[in-house]
Point group: C2
Chain length 555, copies 2
């Protein structure tokens, strides 16, 4: 029997499809960034000209397809040039977290095999502290570099690159527009990101051209982030963290405007930048939005600064319901999302279900969301899959064409991070304890390792945090487990008070009484520690590891 075969093109899925498109169709779309000199305005044509100059410089330095190049930068137009020029030339982009220590930085640069690094001029001093002595061949200082830049740093030659200036080799004239490099194979690497674990060195995820393309296309979906040509996208999430949730590529694919906020993300500078850039869409961790909402409430940022903003994606950690409500009151639609570097990174988005039941809609909006197209999720316990009943907790497992299959050259075996089902599918174990509802909405119960086990019963730290944050006297709070001789573990709350709350600063007794109204007494923390700022990791998440180290002594 003759078998029918497909006759469709096998054009590789790659970033050339995004970059050629953006350059051809959207030349005059705006790109703004905010640097030491204030707000700078250019357009796709300007950014692509910069990217071509950067690509020419790197080629002149001898970098070839397959080589890895690091970036060390804020969200700037030069960083966007790197997002274009590196994978657009077949290079592998390694976005280094600027907040890592010297030891981890050296580890990741060596692990990725980076030959060069692009360092933001304003981060030169930071870089100098963490730079490995001699593994790199080239350092390119981007943006407004000081005149007295040394010619070499460690064993590396030093070069300059800035938007709108010719490449500093002086030999390469701006090349005529030509297609960006088409990967020979769509599984070629496009970018490498590191994700910190609780022990050992960070683990590496290498995205392929295919996975980045598919994820960016998926984010443009009407029920995902609906990124459109008519949007101006302001990624608050750093471009050194999980490809800024892939928003730069989604924006380029859609031809959206881009507003890159640079170094300063405090409400007093972010608010006016939203206003000046006309940003319609933004995305970041909950603490950024809490601070902004609080600043508007306290009158430090005028409410009309947020006028252009239509929707804000909140992810990276669970958003307290009180924050979702506060944003909605400011006229900004909050879009709750969940992701992991391992999932490219966005995996779940909490867009509305179609139901007349307002309680169900509200619960859905507060959940972590439903899987994006392409992804499958399951909730697993030791004895197999748990039902989607909205009640039984299990560990979230996720599978799909833009989910990691394994880590890249891990320093120890990581097979326990994955499972395989009999149908041959591979599943990433996310480490998140969840319940899944009837329509597939996933609600985070806790990080598996952040659950508090008191007297044999589980307490969800996220649940207690959400309730605490709803108290008007609380700006933000984190709940951790501390060892307890009687109960095994007990919850401890680290609380930052809201400024100028009515009735003066809130006290521990107030909070304990408040929680006891809605929680069983044994779930109420025994201790409340008041701090100016809840400790956070380099990417703005609560740093529970550090808090456990500081407050973990038996109380």
């Amino acid at each position: 029997m003759r078998s029918v075969y497909s006759v469709m093109q096998t054009e590789p899925l790659g970033l050339h499809l995004v970059l050629d498109r953006a350059e051809a169709l959207f030349a005059d779309r705006a790109v703004l960034d905010r640097g030491p000199g204030g707000v700078r305005r250019t357009d796709y044509a300007g950014v692509f000209a910069g990217a071509r100059a950067l690509a020419a410089l790197l080629a002149d330095l001898g970098l070839r397809p397959g080589d890895s190049v690091a970036t060390f930068s804020w969200n700037t137009a030069e960083h966007l040039c790197a997002y274009i020029a590196l994978p657009g030339s077949g290079l592998v982009m390694h976005t280094v977290n600027i907040r890592m220590g010297a030891e981890e930085t050296a580890y990741t640069l060596a692990h990725a095999g980076d030959r060069a690094v692009l360092v933001d001029a304003s981060l030169w001093e930071v870089w100098a502290k963490v730079a490995p002595p001699d593994t790199l061949e080239h350092v390119v200082v981007t943006g407004e570099a000081p005149a007295d830049l040394p010619a070499a740093h460690g064993g590396a030659r030093v070069h300059r690159f800035a938007l709108g200036t010719p490449a500093d080799t002086g030999t390469a004239p701006a090349p005529a527009p030509r297609p960006w490099r088409r990967p020979a194979d769509e599984h070629e690497p496009a970018a490498i990101c590191y994700t910190s674990g609780t022990t050992g060195h960070p683990k590496a995820v290498v995205y392929s051209h295919r996975s980045v393309y598919l994820h960016a296309l998926t984010l443009c979906g009407a029920d995902a982030f609906a990124v459109s040509h008519h949007d101006t996208v302001l990624p608050v999430v750093p471009m050194f963290h999980a490809n800024a949730w892939n928003l730069p590529y989604a924006a380029l694919l859609a031809g959206a405007g881009l507003a890159l906020p640079g170094r300063h993300l405090d409400p007093e500078r972010l608010g006016p930048f939203i206003s000046a850039s006309g940003a319609t869409f933004s995305a970041g961790v909950p603490t950024v939005w809490s601070a902004l909402a609080e600043a508007v409430r306290a009158g430090r940022v005028p409410a009309d600064a947020l006028a252009p903003l239509e929707r804000v994606v909140i992810g990276g950690s669970a958003a307290p319901p009180a924050l979702l409500d506060a944003l909605a009151k400011l006229g900004v639609a909050p879009v709750h999302a969940w992701g992991m570097t391992e999932c490219s990174p966005v995996g779940l988005v909490a867009t509305d279900p179609l139901t007349a039941d307002e309680d169900e809609r509200a619960a859905a909006r507060r959940s972590q969301g439903r899987p994006l197209p392409g992804l499958a999720v399951r909730s697993a316990a030791a004895d197999g899959e748990v039902p989607w009943d909205g009640a039984t907790p299990g560990e979230l497992e996720i599978s799909g064409p833009y989910v990691v299959d394994r880590y890249y050259r891990p320093e120890k075996d990581t097979e326990d991070s994955f499972t395989r089902t009999p149908d041959g599918r591979r599943w990433l174990r996310t480490g998140d304890m969840v319940v899944v509802g009837r329509r597939g909405y996933v609600t985070l119960v806790d990080r598996a390792k952040d659950m508090v086990k008191s007297g044999g019963e589980w307490i969800s730290s996220v649940d207690v945090e959400n309730r605490l944050t709803a108290h008007p006297g609380v700006r933000e709070s984190a709940v951790i487990a501390v060892p307890d001789p009687t109960w095994g573990e007990r919850p401890l709350a680290v609380v930052a008070r809201a400024e100028g709350a009515e009735g003066g600063p809130v006290a521990a007794e107030d909070l304990a009484a408040y929680l006891a109204e809605s929680l069983p007494r044994w779930q109420v923390p025994d201790r409340f520690v008041f701090v100016d700022e809840v400790p956070k990791t380099g990417v703005g998440k609560f740093d529970k590891k550090r808090m456990r180290a500081v407050y973990g002594a038996a109380g």
Copy 2:
């Protein structure tokens, strides 16, 4: 030097990702269709139960992954079951155009190697006339089949399938939900469609799982069709034509409601079905929308029947600007699109550019649109690519991962339908003469073969048609070239008059004078033929081939 490699999953892009998702997340989303018994209402759960019963029946009949199965049906819920069950079981779906003659039908069934066909009960008589005598093993009559159905037809055994009834073998209990079949390779065939040429038999395009998935995902994009969970999608375009523009799969991916209009597409039945189904999104050829707009104007369909409808995709042939304006006046946003079976099929969509220039926006909305993500377009003349200057005509060429690379087993060489550029890309020559503007908007000048060459100068038949259709006395019009002893060719207009136009039926002199106001005299047709209905092909496009045969004698 060590090379970094990607560590992402290589999960195949396939319809299992769409079907498993739809079944898991959207069980209670509505599906309506309109059959002989009126409007029938079910939901995804009902349709998927039907699809599982159909898949079980076909497996019982011995059909195995890789086998081809034909459908012969209107847009019905049973046809939707086939869209799910066939590629969801690894079978290749061949949607037969019910308006082909016996010879072409037999050719395509033999060419596709179909082992079975699913025939809509209401089309049994039509099928009996075109059915090949003995190449098929099984005929499954779908929907409300008469009680006295024969046990065999030609050499084929006859079976029944209807939504909500068990499979007629009686042996297969409804299987418990399990994942739909995951293709071993994403390039496995999912569906086969035939496209009629001007000479010879229809040519075959075989879609892969990958191409259907990518195209459906792309259609859900905010700047494409933005198909959302909150939409109810009403495909007027037949499911036997180019996979109904891939809307069924886009709708299933998004979890949109589906409203399938069945056999009757006249305004008097389509209007109330829009109203009853709450359709927010529809799509079809211009003539359907002209007839509907005209029926509303003439009071035969109440304007509020269209109240739920938010946007309508018009494609298949160029929409006259007058039609776009008429729809906008009815409160429906017209979305002009362009496609070919060879492009999965939608390739261009005319969503708004971001510009303050209202003239440019209007021109963009009237154009055929910009390429969807993933696609590249060029405009080519004999001596190479022509510039995107909005003025120089060239033939539109298109390339991308859901464009055909070649035809499936063509009866003669079709290499002249394709070109290849030095970068290795393959381009489909569309046969459409276009101009491309600065921002990549493509405007159709004419089908290459429909251009009229008069005295050595080209006349665009589409341009003359658009002007004619703007005249209040004209409902629709087609312009063709007829041989002329002096000029080589001259334009002839075939005109259907608007009913009840002010001032009585329009005359040829009126139209000639009207056109002469905006066109050079030599571009005005010499002859106007008035007809009740402009002849159309089986898929509702103007049948210029037939008109040339009828009116082509030198005038």
